[in-house]
Amino acid sequence: DAGVTQSPTHLIKTRGQQVTLRCSPKSGHDTVSWYQQALGQGPQFIFQYYEEEERQRGNFPDRFSGHQFPNYSSELNVNALLLGDSALYLCASSWTGLMAFFGQGTRLTVV
């Protein structure tokens, strides 16, 4: 059973560009959450998708948007990239709200 898979693993973008990150949840999971983890910090909640709708959102600007597909996979889009967006972006999937499983993350570097 493949766990949560994220792609790409590493990405370098220029300020002002747009980026799309992808996540496939663990088999049997229907809820996907995205987190941003700055270096040396704990993950910060961005938003959560369930039944293809955004159910909860953290304190992130509208430049951060997402989507969930019928097969439960998800995308995170970030527009107008800033240097401060450089971080590890984590996807977590779950089913009952407990035992969220994280992927290995996408390391985004904005230059």
Binding site: T31, Y35, G42, Q56
Partner: protein, 114 residues
């Protein structure tokens, strides 16, 4: 606004010793408290979790102690091993219907020496 405070920031323990990491939360609506272990370059891995209806949960060498009145919980790692060297995060959430967001502490970098 930091809703989950974690200490210490870093911890050095000798092999075979006990590692203790503490967390305190503010939101009394939280009803699920997991601990995650993260190795460099990897995503956090769920270690152990507790609900507030119990005061202690043990899984192997890992134990969570929970004090609801003090709004505090802690992770004890017994017989610490060099392979336990990692960053540990406590987290809290309110389970409501479907999955809920996790609020993380700032992390504790644990180093277990020989």
């Amino acid at each position: 606004q930091q809703q989950v405070k974690q200490s210490p920031q870093s911890l050095i323990v000798q092999k075979g010793g006990i590692s203790i990491i503490n967390c305190a939360y503010e939101n009394t609506a939280f009803d699920y408290f997991p601990w995650y272990q993260q190795f460099p370059g990897k995503g956090p891995a769920l270690l152990i979790a507790i609900r507030p209806d119990v005061s202690e949960k043990k899984e192997g060498r890992f134990t969570i102690s929970f004090n609801k009145s003090a709004k505090q919980f802690s992770l004890h790692i017994m017989d610490s091993q060099p392979g336990d060297s990692a960053t540990y995060f406590c987290a809290a959430s309110k389970i409501s219907g479907t999955a809920s967001k996790l609020t993380f502490g700032t992390g504790t970098r644990l180093q277990v020496t020989l």
